[in-house]
């Protein structure tokens, strides 16, 4: 016993070191399995409060860009409205049919914290479970895909940005529907990589990449970006560099998309015998 105590006293520095490294590294690794690890919501409320304070200052500095963004969005919406006016009866009929119920519901939110220079970038929104946001909802902006909601507290939500090496999105070529998975390589915030498109498919620079209909999270056809460059990897597949349409460096307003039929789809798909 005496020896044991002497041992602890003698090596207390190394023992402390091992204990602290063990605690912090296990936190890191637990967090890497980002689907399993639940965020600490108390911490989120505190840091959410702080980020919203900081945001209220930076908001003023970004007013000019935000105005431009909103003006652009207005023009786009006006265009849609005029089209709707001409093709009148398509947009204004009432749906009583239970089969065609509304599938997606959008909630707008403000970005109050954002980063682009880490490997695992996250975005904080100023809305939370109180406003109907929930885990695994898609987040999009006027320009395209932004990310997926990671965790929500009462008034704030954190979003796994598309600029997070942990996030994979099912994407397809708009012109011929071949699909693959889109990941961010962690290098530069303007580009991501689309893999698993087979080699025989004809693609060109400038082709549009949109979300596929295979994920229960994103609606089909949300813009992701355009092909900037491609090469053949491993003989059978392309490695396609996609120029992202969303500029993550000045995100201000985004929409969270809830898929009202997600539960139904998941439930049905959960019955596959092989997994």
């Amino acid at each position: 016993m005496k020896n044991l105590i002497r041992f602890f006293i003698r090596f207390h520095f190394a023992i402390f070191f091992i204990i602290f490294e063990f605690i912090s590294l296990s936190l890191v690794f637990q967090y890497n399995h980002y689907q399993k690890a639940k965020g600490v919501s108390l911490v989120q409320n505190i840091s959410g409060y702080y980020h919203s304070k900081v945001f209220s200052i930076t908001e003023y500095l970004n007013l000019r860009e935000t105005n431009q963004q909103l003006a652009k969005e207005n023009v786009r919406l006006n265009n849609i409205l005029q089209q709707a006016y001409r093709a009148d009866d398509i947009f204004f009929y009432k749906q009583d049919d239970t089969l065609n119920k509304q599938r997606y519901y959008l909630t707008s939110a403000k970005v109050i914290n954002n980063s682009v220079n880490k490997k695992h970038n996250f975005i904080t929104l100023n809305k939370g479970s109180e406003h109907g946001l929930a885990q695994d909802m898609a987040v999009i902006s006027g320009d395209g895909v932004v990310g997926v909601i990671y965790d929500v507290s009462k008034y704030y939500a954190t979003v796994i940005s598309l600029l997070n090496t942990n996030l994979k999105i099912s994407a397809k070529l708009k012109k011929n529907d071949y699909f693959g998975s889109l990941v961010w390589e962690g290098k530069d915030y303007r580009h991501a990589t689309l893999n698993e498109i087979p080699y025989h498919v004809a693609i060109e620079r400038g082709d549009t990449i949109v979300t596929s209909s295979y994920s229960a999270i994103f609606p089909e056809g949300v813009l992701i970006g355009t092909i900037e460059d491609f090469k053949i990897k491993g003989g059978n597949f392309y490695e396609i560099i996609v120029a992202l349409s969303t500029d993550f460096k000045h995100l201000t307003y985004v929409s969270a998309v809830s898929n009202l039929k997600k539960e139904e789809q998941k439930e049905l798909e959960g019955t596959f015998p092989n997994d």
Binding site: F16, S24, L27, V28, Y31, N117, E185, G186
Partner: protein
């Protein structure tokens, strides 16, 4: 003694706030992420006992983690750096050891000594931090570039701060 404790606690709070409120909000480039808060570990007195050194390093890293949504990342890197501090101090010690009632400052031991001391420890911290963050060697040189550039930037900030605050 109490005075010393208060001063270090104050420095702790100021450095964490400075890091999360100001430095994290300035996005210099993808390759430059300075972590100025490690200055706290550098400036602790020579006589700081080992357990206190590691505990304060853990708390320091963890407080930064809370704001950056990276649980454990900064804590592990800061503890790792603090672990090497006694060794680095031993290697760099002057011929007749550190004098009592002095602190690791430019004022007492000169620019070159402090620069070497800061360079080694900041480099250890950044090296550990960036590789744990990526957690692979797949982009080895890209990450290494990040380590080097960020280390240099943090060092510049540290040296400037020393001249701004501890004038003769």
């Amino acid at each position: 003694m109490i005075n010393l404790l208060l001063r270090n606690t104050g420095r702790f709070v100021v450095l964490v706030l400075l890091q999360v409120l100001i430095i994290d909000n300035i996005q210099f480039s993808e390759y430059v992420n300075p972590f100025f808060y490690v200055l706290f570990i550098l400036l602790l007195p020579f006589e700081t006992p080992g357990w206190l050194l590691l505990t304060s390093a853990f708390l320091l890293g963890f407080s930064v983690d809370l704001f950056e949504h990276t649980p454990g990342l900064h804590a592990s890197a800061t503890v790792f750096m603090a672990f090497f501090r006694p060794l680095v101090l031993k290697i760099l010690s002057p011929r007749d050891d550190y004098e009592p009632n002095t602190y690791p400052r430019i004022y007492y031991y000169g620019f070159v000594w402090f620069f070497k001391y800061a360079l080694i420890l900041v480099f250890i911290h950044h090296l550990f931090l960036f590789y744990i963050e990526v957690f692979s060697f797949s982009n080895f040189f890209l990450t290494f570039l990040k380590v080097i550039l960020s280390t240099l930037f943090t060092l510049v900030l540290i040296m400037i701060s020393q001249y701004l605050i501890y004038k003769k």
